[in-house]
Amino acid sequence: MKIFASYSIKGGVGKTSLSVNLAYAFRCAGLQTLLVDLDPQGAATFYFRVGSAEKFPLRGEGLSVPDLRNAIRESDYPGLDILPASPSYRKFDIALDGMRKSRKQLRFLMNDLAAEYDAVILDCPPGLTLLAENIFRASDLLLVPVIPTVLSGRTLAQAYAFFSDHELPSEIIRPFFSMVQLTHRMHGDLMAELPGQFPAFLKSAVPHAASVEKMGIHRRPIQAFDPDCPAARAYEALSKEVLALRARA
């Protein structure tokens, strides 16, 4: 089992779109996939028409594996399950803080699912919290959507700095360009500049597209309702690139 996190310090960069469409693509590639919606907003859960999870008992000696398993829901697409968002996630950091080995709790939980899934995708909330550090320690790859803007570039640099300060393996960070509008000159300039600064950038880039916003209307992954649109093709290419990295790993 490999764990892929869709993560960014910054909000509104396309993390949930990535999680939803990557999970769907993995499932289409024959991988038994679990999408874990860690964001209390529950957007990924909403896209799959799944109700939110019962409140997890977050207090105590550790996060409960049986509760976690009970909360898993099968999506409409065989081979893809969802661990829905829970209102309890609001208190995730407080709960983790009270636990022993508080930075590795998520890894322990995910290890218990290893026999059931080939791939787990974590849809992460923005921020650089204790939950984020759990995510860094649990993930095999950290996929970071980067809008080609100055602020996005800055938050990417902050993530690398955090990894360096906490002696985390920065090679797991794989940024890619998201919500790209090549009609904006700045997007073009930064897409030429940032990979020089951060060589781990993936080749695939996802365009800014109305179809991504329409996911909220259809409540399905883009590939499931408009498989030929540029964004759907971009996510497919991205998933192939990520799977190739996984194979090499």
Partner: protein, 515 residues
């Protein structure tokens, strides 16, 4: 390997009424739930098995859809193996590509041909139920299986989605009206029955129920009747000629009936028994030549591999010729089996064993069978020991053959009347089987050798020179093989006739069970 159809009978499948009326279900679903048909497909599927239902007997059913085989476990409804096969007709397990699946088929089918038993049409319809959010919460399959006869059977397969237990319960309750308690296995059996097919009928060896106090005449009737049924049950298979085992079992049935009558001589009037045995003997010997051909042709692969490659074409040619002769011989046997006189003989003989009293009693008719069998077993075993004592490695084949016949008689006695002498049976079964296997192999080698020599003599100058060389090579191989079996047989004979075993057998026979 496309086998989408198999999930219709997967774990948890249940029978349902036919025809399936899905439309009526919509109203019975909980408020806000929506039923949608996702698609349907029709598959043509065959069930395959050996003539003796070896796969069915081992708890499995083999299906073929196009050229794809699926082995299905009757116990848990799981697929236990898959592989590719010829798209139509029968095949042997060794015709398949090497794989674990092939080995599994080999175990269950042995030397028997795997053949289509029945063709089915499977109509597979897939449904899903969504909740008020439009989220799928329950799926189910409805399959209709039809043979050529009858209205077919329905199968329901519910597929709750993970995390939607409550919704699944609601749906299952609504769909309950469709279902029955039947399992897919029962339904398949029903389909076979509709087509007039009963698994196990052809290959089942009879096991009569006998207790030691039963008068011998009645007990013997219970042994002979199923033996005759075994023989008659294989006749249609011989005529169809789909597997050589039909003939083998036919001959076994006849031999068992004849042997039982001979072994229990004195139970019925001797004059009648002699007549019946002669009739049965004629029926068996009418198939001798066909069986000889079969024995040879079954060994064909081994023969082709045993000779130097330079002789392979000649051996192939020789066997092609034998196969053509066998076809003519089979036509003769089939026509004899279909003849009115044969049918009349069968009806007459069967009638004699329908009820005790069908035959005039002999002087031992009323003796309790437990006593009669114990006496005969002791006599047979002593006779074998006597025949075995002077035998050495270079004993003439006729003496070994006589020993084999005695062993066969002893084995039949034990088989027919096993429940009466469990202790003796336990003592003798293994050493006797080992000896018989070796003597049987020795005899087969001798018979095959003689058959080939006869063939070369009967053809005289017409025999092609390369075929003559091939026969020479094969006779040599059979001779060497026979010598090896002879050593094994003599060792097995020693084990069967040790003084300690003799003492134990004598003791066991001194107290026949429950008398």
């Amino acid at each position: 390997m496309g086998s989408l159809w198999i999930d219709v009978i997967g774990p948890g499948a249940m029978g349902c009424r036919v025809p399936v009326e899905v439309e009526s279900l919509r109203g019975s679903l909980p408020m806000g739930f929506v039923l949608k048909e996702r698609g349907s497909q029709v598959f043509s599927v065959e069930i395959l098995d050996t003539y003796s239902w070896g796969l069915w007997g081992s708890g499995q059913i083999l299906f073929r859809c196009n050229a794809s085989l699926t082995l299905w476990s009757q116990g848990n409804g799981l697929v236990t193996g898959q592989g590719a096969a010829p798209a139509e007709g029968g095949f042997f397990w060794w015709n398949l590509r090497e794989s674990d699946f092939r080995e599994a088929l080999g175990e269950a089918s042995g030397i028997r041909k795997i053949e289509p038993v029945i063709s089915l049409e499977i109509d597979r319809r897939e449904f899903e139920v969504s909740n008020g959010e439009g989220k799928v919460v329950y799926r189910f399959l409805l399959g209709t299986l039809r043979g050529k006869e009858g209205s077919g059977v329905g199968i329901f397969q519910g597929r709750p989605l993970r995390g939607y237990v409550q919704e699944a319960n609601l749906c299952t309750k609504a769909l309950e009206t469709l279902c029955s308690e039947e399992t897919p296995q029962n339904l398949l059996e029903g389909l076979l029955a509709d087509a007039g097919i009963t698994p196990h009928s052809a290959g089942k060896r009879p096991k009569p129920e006998i207790d030691p106090g039963l008068p011998s005449a009645e007990a013997l009737c219970r042994v002979v009747r199923p033996a005759l049924e075994l023989a008659w049950g294989n006749e249609s298979g011989i005529i169809r000629d789909t597997d050589t085992e039909f003939l083998h079992e036919y001959r076994v049935g006849l031999r068992r009936a004849r042997s039982a009558l001979a072994l229990m001589s004195g139970v019925y009037a001797n004059s009648e028994v002699t007549l019946i045995r002669e009739q049965l003997g004629r029926m068996a010997s009418a198939t001798n030549r066909l069986r000889d051909f079969d024995v040879h042709l079954l060994e064909r692969r081994n023969y082709e591999q045993a000779v130097p490659s330079v002789l392979s074409p000649a051996v192939r040619g020789l066997f092609d010729g034998l196969a053509a002769e066998r076809a003519a011989e089979h036509a003769r046997v089939a026509s004899a089996l279909l003849s009115e006189s044969h049918q009349r003989s069968k009806t007459h003989i069967s009638g004699l064993f329908l009820l005790p009293g069908g035959l005039p009693p002999g002087e031992e008719a009323e003796i309790p069978v437990g006593v009669a069998v114990a006496l005969r077993l002791g006599r047979r075993y002593r006779k074998i020991r006597k025949l075995a004592a002077p035998l050495s490695f270079d004993a003439p084949e006729s003496e070994l053959h006589a020993l084999r016949i005695q062993c066969k008689k002893l084995r039949y006695l034990l088989e027919f009347f096993f429940p009466l002498v469990p202790e003796t049976s336990a003592l003798l079964e293994r050493p006797l089987r080992r000896l018989q296997n070796r003597l049987g192999a020795l005899n087969d080698a001798a018979v095959q050798r003689e058959f080939l020599l006869d063939l070369s003599r009967s053809r005289g100058n017409e025999l092609r020179s390369d075929h003559a060389v091939a026969i020479g090579a094969l006779v040599g191989i059979l001779h060497t093989r026979g010598a090896a079996f002879r050593v094994g047989a003599l060792r097995a004979l020693e084990a069967l006739t040790t003084p300690s075993l003799e003492k134990a057998v004598r003791r066991s026979l001194a107290r026949p069970t429950n008398l």
